[in-house]
């Protein structure tokens, strides 16, 4: 019943690009997999009876309610130029995921938005629905092929987390140096629902403007966002977004971790309390840039409409602390090894669980930062 109709082949080059952001089509330890390549669905596989994964166009055909109840409800179609372009697609591209009521899917579901051809726009619309009491881990890789330098990626991501449901979303970006990336996300969380999002940008595009809106609408709903950015020269990365505490006992935590060796990095995020909930924003930046053309700007924000809401924020920007570096070196580590270990620790790499891909990127950053000091 859930069997999708499209299964295409990805070539070796595609697989290599996808592996770089932790997406491995064909592996068995996933509940379902879908890959969008350029402006077509290139791979679909679904192995789990409780997870429905379809190309979005097919889902629209199958379910009338998708259009009327979900599509462009968490992200307004007319929000900006990006959403308008996504809404205007004649043949929408993207994925639809539905986890049935009460299903605890233990294997992760993986999706990829992959650009194999340069110089074009990739516009996608994704909808994820977790019915009541269900649980899902979603891994999304957004990547361009190694030789693709230019292009734009536009996306509308709408996630609906039902009552007592839990969604963990890990999104890894790795883009070509002159790409422009505009994700528009909207997440609606119902009573006691839990939304956890990890956003990791390994290889920075020329311009990233991410502005997700999270609505904690049900009592006891919670959201935790971890944003990890490695900023390189020539990049400009904005990670903003609002979290609305719309019901009592809601809880939001926004964590930003950025390492900058060049380029412009803007850490933002605003928690808006309309009910007695709790919120905390924590921005931390590590500036390894020494030539003066890179910066980190941290602006954690709070807005309260309710006297019983408890909101707080903190922010700090610094460099590698020499005492910590020498401490690790006194255990026998070479300087570069110690720098890597400190960056990994700072980014909470263990928590994200992105072993090799992240390590490779950190190694590159350390290399560049090391040369910068001479």
């Amino acid at each position: 019943m859930n069997k999708p109709s499209i299964v295409k082949q990805l070539d070796e080059k595609d697989m290599r690009s996808l592996a770089g952001v932790g997406v491995m089509p064909g592996k068995d330890n996933y509940a379902a997999t879908l890959v969008v390549r350029d402006q077509e669905t290139a791979y679909v596989r679904s192995d789990h009876r409780d997870v429905e994964l379809l190309p979005i166009a097919e889902a629209f055909k199958r379910y009338d309610w998708l259009k009327t109840e979900y599509s462009f409800k968490a992200v307004p179609a007319g929000y900006d130029e990006i959403t308008r372009q996504c809404a205007a697609m004649e043949r929408p591209i993207g994925y639809f995921i539905r986890v049935y009521k009460g299903a605890h899917v233990t294997l992760p579901c993986q999706t990829a938005l992959y650009m194999a051809t340069g110089g074009m726009d990739q516009a996608v619309h994704n909808i994820v629905i977790l019915e009541e009491e269900s649980e899902l881990e979603l891994i999304t890789g957004c990547v361009s092929e190694r030789r693709v330098a230019t292009g734009r990626h536009l996306s509308v991501d709408e996630y609906y987390v039902g009552k007592n449901a839990g969604l963990t979303s890990t999104m890894v970006h790795s883009w070509g140096k002159q790409m422009q990336v505009f994700p528009r996300g909207g997440v609606i969380v119902e009573e006691n629902g839990r939304y956890e999002s990890n956003y990791i940008s390994l290889s920075a595009a020329q311009l990233v403007k991410s502005d997700p809106q999270t609505y904690l609408n049900g009592k006891g709903a919670s959201a935790q966002h971890l944003t990890v950015i490695l900023g390189t020269p020539g990049s400009e990365i904005h990670t903003d977004g609002n979290v609305f505490l719309n019901a009592e006992d809601t809880n939001a935590e926004l964590l930003h971790r950025g390492v900058c060796i060049g380029g412009k990095m803007y850490q933002g995020g605003l928690i808006i309390a309309k009910a007695p909930g709790r919120g905390h924003v924590d921005c931390a930046g590590m500036l390894l840039e020494t030539k003066g053309d890179g910066f980190i700007q941290s602006v954690p924000g709070l807005q309260s409409h309710h006297p019983d809401a408890r909101l707080s924020h903190e922010a700090s920007i610094g460099k590698i602390v020499p005492e910590q570096l020498e401490y690790l070196m006194s255990r026998g580590m070479e300087e570069m090894e110690a720098v890597s270990m400190l960056i990994r620790g700072f980014l909470g790499a263990d928590v994200i669980g992105l072993g090799d891909e992240l390590d490779a990127q950190i190694a590159e950053i350390v290399e560049i930062a090391g040369h910068g000091e001479e």
């Binding site: 020499p322 910590q324 300087e335 400190l342 990994r344």
Partner: protein
């Protein structure tokens, strides 16, 4: 005749504008464990940090020879890999880096590293702290144990310990004493054949657990007096450093 694993010759060290070590001389023969005494601020920690090669301690005169080699040009990590290690008096907190991560690194080339780590952590009663950031939120005594745990895992030829016995309870002292003994006499069948060490202590508690070959009293940035560690400690604990200092100063004249 034994060779000296460490020789400090006519060493002067400045921290910022302030000269702290003053033409200091010290020799530690291979296989001996020495104790370092001295008033607060006499320069004990400065000496150890300088030997280890930490920045901020500027050698303005003299030399440090380790295993017969002048180590002036070596950085901290090169010195560590040459076989020296330190358990610091006041180590920094290293946010995000877990004790387990460092131990993984230290033990990477040993056989069964995971077993060895578990065993070491258990013997130091530090199992619960492996997943915490280095020294983050640890009590004074826990920091000492974490430092010693790493130092022991490194199995250095020359181990420096800066007040391993300050601010810890009696039970922990026994644990630490056992660990240090194991470090210095790794071969139980040949306990006399030992590794080399230098231990700073004020209360001498740790000395009751170990065999110390020689004691030194530091005064004004140099070694004022050397001799039997028990006699020195006995004297200091009865009459205090005042008299010790007086003795050193009058002898100098």
């Amino acid at each position: 005749m034994k060779t000296n694993i460490l020789e400090v010759r006519d060493l002067c060290v400045a921290v910022g504008d302030k000269q702290i070590l003053n033409h200091l001389n010290l020799e530690i023969p291979d296989g001996e464990v020495h104790a370092l005494f001295g008033q607060n601020g006499s320069g004990k920690t400065t000496l150890m940090m300088t030997i280890m090669g930490f920045s901020g301690y500027d050698v303005t005169n003299g030399q440090i020879l380790f295993k017969g080699r002048n180590i002036a040009e070596l950085d901290v990590s090169e010195r560590a890999r040459l076989g020296m290690s330190i358990a610091q008096q006041r180590p920094p907190t290293v946010f995000g880096v877990k004790l387990r991560t460092i131990l993984d690194y230290i033990l990477r080339d040993t056989e069964n590293p995971q077993e060895r780590m578990t065993e070491l952590a258990a013997s130091a009663k530090m199992e619960d702290f492996l997943s915490r950031s280095i020294n983050e939120g640890l009590s004074g005594g826990e920091i000492k144990r974490a430092e010693l745990l790493q130092l022991i895992a490194m199995r250095p030829d020359f181990a420096m310990m800066d007040e391993p016995d300050s601010g810890i309870d009696i039970e922990a002292l026994n644990v630490i004493g056992g660990l240090i003994n194991q470090l210095f006499s790794p071969d139980e069948t040949h306990p006399v054949k030992r590794k080399t060490g230098l231990i700073i202590t004020h209360n001498g508690n740790i000395l009751r657990q170990l065999h110390i070959d020689k004691g030194h009293v530091m005064h004004n940035g140099s070694i004022g007096c050397s001799g039997n560690p028990d006699i020195i400690l006995d004297k200091v604990s009865r009459v205090g450093y005042e008299e010790c200092v007086h003795c050193i100063e009058t002898r100098c004249e």
